[in-house]
C-alpha cells in the first residue's frame, strides 16, 4: 500500500493542496468577513495617528485635485478641455482608485508575509482586502466629486445614478488587477520597482487632464488605443453621465464591461494557479 492510499483510507487529505477553482472561490467567499474587517481595521489604524483623523480622507484628495487643477489649469491655458474643473476632478479621483488598487494589490501578499506564514486561509482574501481598503478611500472622494459637480453648475439628473454601475465595474476591474499584480510581485520582486513608473505613465496617457480626441485627432489608430485603455474608459464613462458636453458612448460601455470581466476572471484564475506558492521566500 502506498502512503497516499494509506492516507486516503483513513480519510487524510494532503496539506496545502490547491483546491479546485470553484470550491476555492466558495471558501474565499465564506471568509469575506475577514477581508472586510481587516480592511476596516487597517483603515482605522492608518488614520489613528493623525490629529485630523478621518478628515484626511477628504482633505488629501481635495488638496491633490487643487494642486493638479492649478498646475494643469495654468499650463494648458486655452487648450483646457471644456468644463475643466469637473473634468479634471473626475479623472483625478477615479485614477487615484485604480492606481492604489494596483499598487496596494501588488504588495498585498509581500506586505503581509507574517500573516501568510502564520495562518492558512484562501490567499485571494489579501488582494480582496486591499481593494476593499481602496473602496473605503474612494467613497468620500465620490462625495467630494458630487459636491464639485453641483458647485460648478452641472445639472443634476437621473443619469448620475449610472455612476453606481460605472464605479462597480471599475472596482471589479481594480480587484482583477490587484490579484494579477499580487502574484507577479511575489514571483518577480523587481517588479515593485517598476510600479511607480507604470502608474505615472498611465496618469499621463489616460486623459486625466486632456481629451485624447483633441490631442490625437490626427492619429486614428493611436486614438482608438487611447480610447480603449481601461483607465480612460471608466473615467470617460463617469464624465459622460455627469458633465454637460460629454457623453458615454456605446463603445465605452462595452469596453468597460469587457475589461472588468477580463480582469476579474484572468486575475482570480492567475492568482489561484499559484496558491500553493505564496508562503515561499522568493
Amino acid at each position: 500500500m502506498s502512503v497516499a492510499e494509506y492516507a486516503a483510507k483513513h480519510g487524510l487529505k494532503r496539506v496545502g493542496a490547491r483546491e479546485p477553482f470553484f470550491s476555492y472561490l466558495k471558501h474565499a467567499w465564506l471568509r469575506r468577513d475577514f477581508a472586510y474587517t481587516m480592511a476596516q481595521f487597517t483603515n482605522q489604524a492608518s488614520m489613528a495617528g493623525n490629529r485630523l483623523g478621518r478628515w484626511w480622507l477628504i482633505l488629501q484628495p481635495a488638496i491633490q485635485a487643487g494642486v493638479y487643477g492649478l498646475i494643469f489649469g495654468v499650463l494648458l491655458g486655452s487648450s483646457r478641455p471644456h468644463n475643466f474643473v469637473p473634468f479634471l476632478f473626475t479623472g483625478v479621483f477615479l485614477f487615484a482608485f485604480m492606481q492604489s488598487a494596483f499598487q496596494q494589490g501588488a504588495s498585498s501578499i509581500t506586505g503581509n508575509f507574517g500573516l501568510v506564514r502564520s495562518l492558512s486561509f484562501p490567499r485571494i482574501l489579501l488582494p480582496a482586502n486591499s481593494t476593499i481598503q481602496q473602496i473605503f478611500a474612494l467613497m468620500p472622494q465620490l462625495g467630494l466629486l458630487v459636491v464639485t459637480l453641483l458647485l460648478t453648475g452641472q445639472q443634476i439628473s437621473w443619469s448620475w445614478l449610472l455612476l453606481v454601475p460605472i464605479v462597480a465595474l471599475m472596482i471589479i476591474f481594480g480587484f482583477g488587477v490587484a490579484a494579477l499584480s499580487a502574484r507577479l510581485t511575489v514571483q518577480i520582486q523587481d517588479l515593485s520597482k517598476l510600479i511607480p513608473f507604470i502608474t505615472r505613465i498611465m496618469f499621463y496617457v489616460s486623459g486625466i487632464f486632456f481629451s485624447p480626441a483633441r490631442v490625437l485627432g490626427h492619429y486614428p489608430v493611436a486614438l482608438k488605443i487611447a480610447e480603449l485603455n481601461p483607465v480612460y474608459v471608466y473615467i470617460s464613462l463617469a464624465r459622460g453621465v455627469t458633465i454637460s458636453g460629454y457623453s458615454a458612448s456605446l463603445q465605452d460601455w462595452v469596453a468597460g464591461i469587457v475589461w472588468a470581466l477580463v480582469a476579474l476572471i484572468s486575475g482570480t484564475w492567475f492568482f489561484w494557479r499559484a496558491e500553493e506558492r505564496y508562503g515561499r521566500e522568493i
Binding site: F34, G114, S118, S120
Partner: protein
C-alpha cells in the same frame, strides 16, 4: 540517509503523515564572503545567484490519534520549516504531508496588525481561522482572561510587550479545540504562571483527542506534556521515540547534563 525515507504504516488511526518531505529555500545572494576585496563593485553586484538552502531533507513519520509530539533540535535544524510545512503555510519542494484536519500553527512570528487593539486582533484572528463574528464575540472575554490582559485589551498591540502579545496569540489559537495544533516556541516568552496555564490547556486539548505538536528548547516541558518526541538535526530525522529516551540522547549530543 541515501535511500528515500518512508513513514511507517501501522493500523492505529493516523492523524498526520509526513512522507519524505523536503523544504528548500531559494535565496538571492552573492555567495561571497564580506571582505575588503569584495567590498567594491557591490553596486552592480554581478555574481548574484540563486542559492539553495536545503532546510528539511527527506523527513518521514506518522502521528497517531492522541499523540502529543515534542519536536527538538538545535537552532537552524529545520524544526520550524517542518512545522510551517505541516501547517500548509510553507510550500514543500518534494514529498507530501497528509492530515485529518487543517493543522493550526501558533508561532512566535504570528503577527496580526500591531496598530489595532488586542480586542480587534482577537476578532481578526478568529475570522481568519474561519469562525463567525458571533462565535468570536462569545469567546472574546475568555480569551482576554486566559491571556491575562484585561486592562490592556483596548490598547493597540504595538504597545504590548513581546510576552504580552505572545500570550494573546496563544490565547486566540487555544480558544478553540483544534484537531491538530502546532505550537512553535510560542510559550518560551511567557512567564511561569502563563506557562503553567498553557501547559494545562495543551493537556486538556490532547485529552479531547486533539494532536499537539510542541517545538521547544525546554526539555522539561517536552517531558511534562508530550507522549512522543522527534529529534531533528540539519534537516534530518535523528530519533523518534519516547520523550525520556530522545531527550537523553539529545542532551548527550549537545553536552548538557541537566534536564531543563
Amino acid at each position: 540517509m541515501a535511500a528515500k525515507s518512508k513513514p511507517k504504516l501501522e493500523d492505529r488511526k493516523p492523524v498526520v503523515i509526513v512522507d519524505d518531505v523536503h523544504v528548500v529555500y531559494k535565496v538571492l545572494a552573492s555567495g561571497k564572503r564580506a571582505s575588503r576585496a569584495n567590498a567594491g563593485g557591490g553596486m552592480f553586484s554581478r555574481g548574484l545567484k540563486l542559492r539553495e538552502v536545503h532546510a528539511v531533507k527527506g523527513v518521514s513519520f506518522t502521528i497517531y490519534e492522541g499523540d502529543s509530539v515534542g519536536i527538538i533540535g538545535t537552532n537552524g535544524s529545520g524544526k520550524s520549516s517542518l512545522m510551517t510545512a505541516i501547517a500548509g503555510v510553507n510550500p514543500i519542494e518534494k514529498g507530501a504531508i497528509y492530515a485529518s484536519a487543517r493543522p493550526m500553527l501558533l508561532g512566535v512570528g504570528a503577527v496580526l496588525i500591531p496598530a489595532i487593539s488586542g480586542l480587534k486582533n482577537i476578532l481578526l484572528g478568529g475570522l481568519a481561522m474561519g469562525y463567525s463574528r458571533k462565535e468570536i464575540n462569545a469567546s472574546a472575554k475568555a480569551i482576554t482572561d486566559f491571556a491575562g490582559l484585561e486592562e490592556f485589551i483596548d490598547l493597540p498591540m504595538k504597545a504590548y510587550s513581546s510576552g504580552m502579545s505572545a500570550r494573546l496569540r496563544f490565547a486566540i489559537a487555544a480558544s478553540r479545540d483544534h484537531d491538530i495544533l502546532i505550537i512553535d516556541e510560542a510559550l518560551s516568552v511567557g512567564d511561569q504562571q502563563f506557562r503553567n496555564r498553557s501547559e494545562a490547556r495543551m493537556r486538556e486539548m490532547r485529552d479531547n483527542a486533539g494532536t499537539v505538536f510542541l517545538v521547544s528548547h525546554s526539555m522539561k516541558s517536552i517531558i511534562d506534556t508530550c507522549t512522543r518526541c522527534i529529534w531533528i538535526e540539519k534537516g534530518e530525522l535523528i530519533m523518534d521515540g519516547t520523550p525520556k529516551e530522545v531527550v537523553k540522547a539529545y542532551n548527550k549530543f549537545v553536552g548538557s547534563t541537566t534536564v531543563d
